[in-house]
Structures are given as C-alpha cells and as structure tokens.
C-alpha cells in the first residue's frame, strides 16, 4: 500500500453560530468567531489517497483526476466564499474546521474513481488542523 498526498489552498470566510443557543450562550461558546459579519482564513487542504502501485503506470492514482476533482468539488465551491451562506453543507451545520474536513471528505469520496481516500487534513492556520479518516 502506498499513500499519496495532494495539497491545495483556498481562502474563505465563516462564523460560528448555533440558532438553538441564546446570543449570550453563542458568545460564551464561540467568542470572536461568533461575529455575524464573519472572518476569514487561508485554508490548506491535504488529501491523502491510498492504493497499490499500478505496474503499468507506476501510479497509485491518476494525479490529474485527483487534482480535477479537488478543484471542482472543493476549490470551485469554497474558494473566496462565505461558507455559511454559499456552501450548502453549512446552511445548517456550523463551519468549524472539523465539519469542513467531514464535508470535504464526503464531497471527494463520492467523486473519486480508483483512488481510495485515506485522510482529509484541513489546516485553518499553521497552528491548527483537523484530520478526518471517514466514518468508522
């Protein structure tokens, strides 16, 4: 088994708010991230796929196809967007880095052909990242 990781960057804004909580509770729980005007990050996405090396091509996966799917499913949908307002997964769910990693996994898992997803890692900043390995 060989693991291959492809990296991409996108910039997006978001804010954290749960309509079931009072304004005070939202403020206490989410702090500055609760500002309804949003704030932004430069996200770094690392997608790791796994598989056996094809003896004919020497590839685990067609990188071109992986790159295209990442662009179409993630970057086109999320780059320079306000996640809460423009990405359907976050009309209801809070766009934390945890939920972002899960949403990206689900988008990619549906579309990848030969490659088997191993891990989606999303860096919100250099000092914070989330890994999602799929549902157990």
């Amino acid at each position: 088994m060989v693991y291959l990781t492809r990296k991409a960057e996108f910039a997006a804004s978001h804010y954290y708010h749960n309509p079931d909580f009072s304004p005070e509770e939202n403020q206490r729980l989410f702090g500055k991230c609760n500002n309804p005007n949003g704030h932004g990050h430069n996200y770094t996405l690392e997608v790791t796929v796994k598989g056996e090396v094809d003896p004919r091509s020497g590839f685990v996966v067609d990188l071109k196809q992986l790159k295209e799917v990442m662009h179409r499913e993630v970057l086109d949908a999320m780059d320079h967007r306000f996640l809460n307002k423009e990405v359907p997964e976050f009309f209801q769910k809070i766009p934390t880095t945890e939920n972002l990693a899960i949403a990206i996994w689900q988008r990619l898992d549906l579309k990848l052909q030969k490659a088997k997803l191993h891990r989606v890692r999303v860096y919100e900043t250099q000092d914070l990242f989330v890994d999602f390995y799929g549902e157990e």
């Binding site: 954290y16 749960n18 079931d20 909580f21 729980l29 989410f30 702090g31 769910k93 809070i94 766009p95 934390t96 880095t97 945890e98 939920n99 990693a101 899960i102 891990r119 250099q126 000092d127 914070l128 990242f129 989330v130 890994d131 999602f132 390995y133 549902e135 157990e136």
Partner: protein, 140 residues
C-alpha cells in the same frame, strides 16, 4: 462522526543530556555536544492531537479555549524559559526530547478531560521530531 484535531504550540527551554549511570567519557561519547555541563537550549514546537465525536451543537471535537488553557497551564507555564534539568520529573530521567514528549503526553492525559488524547509530537529543531501515542502505534 469522529475527527482528529491538532493544535501547535511553542516553548523554549534548556537542558543538558547526562546520565548518572554512565561515566564522564561515556556521557561525552553518547551525548556529544549535548553533554556540555552548562546546558544549551531549543525552541520546541509541540503538537497536541485529540480526537472525539464532533458535537452536532457546536461542530467541535472540543473547545479550543479549553485545550489552549490546559496546555498553557500544564505544559507551557511549566517548561517555557526553564531549565528542564531543574525540574523534579527530570531529576533522574534524562531530559531528551523523547522523555519530554512522553512526560507531556502523560501530563495531558491526566489533566485534559474534554477529548481523547491521541498523540503528542514534539519538534526539537526543524530537523528532528518525536511522537508518542501512549505506547500505541501511530494511526497516520
């Protein structure tokens, strides 16, 4: 759904690698420059990985404020700008980055109740790092 969250911190500390079980010559042979009696320092980078189900109400594995305050109180305030050899936990144990990594894991496992501690990864310099998962194999 279960996710893993990793947070990165920094601290600086000094140490001297010297084992009382070895002779002076053996210490110099094993630890080289790190055996300098006056010690030397590093800017450490610490990565703490925790895991858990993402809470549907908050979208979080755990609140970062809780993790940050625990690491600050239990690790950074204990070691930042300190000489590791003067700490009681390194009175006998040599403060290699391996042992420091294990020590930090054990502290956080005892003191952080809000998510499951997966791994502690400690960079001593840009060129070397150590990782400890409580004796388990690493998952990634």
């Amino acid at each position: 759904m279960k996710a893993h969250l990793t947070r990165r911190y920094r601290f600086s500390a000094s140490h001297r690698l010297h084992s009382p079980e070895l002779s002076a010559e053996e210490n110099r042979a094993v630890y080289g420059k790190c055996n300098n009696p006056h010690g030397h320092g590093h800017n450490y980078a610490l990565e703490v990985t925790v895991s858990g189900a993402v809470d549907p109400a908050t979208g979080m594995v755990c609140n970062l404020v809780d993790l940050d305050s625990c690491v600050e109180q239990e690790v950074l305030s204990r070691y930042h700008l300190e000489n590791l050899n003067t700490r009681q936990e390194f009175a006998v144990t040599v403060p290699t980055t391996e042992n420091l990594c294990i020590q930090i894991f054990d502290i956080l496992q005892r003191r952080f109740p809000h998510a499951h501690l997966e791994t502690v990864r400690l960079e001593e310099t840009m060129m070397n790092s150590f990782e400890y998962a409580g004796g388990k194999e690493l998952i990634s």
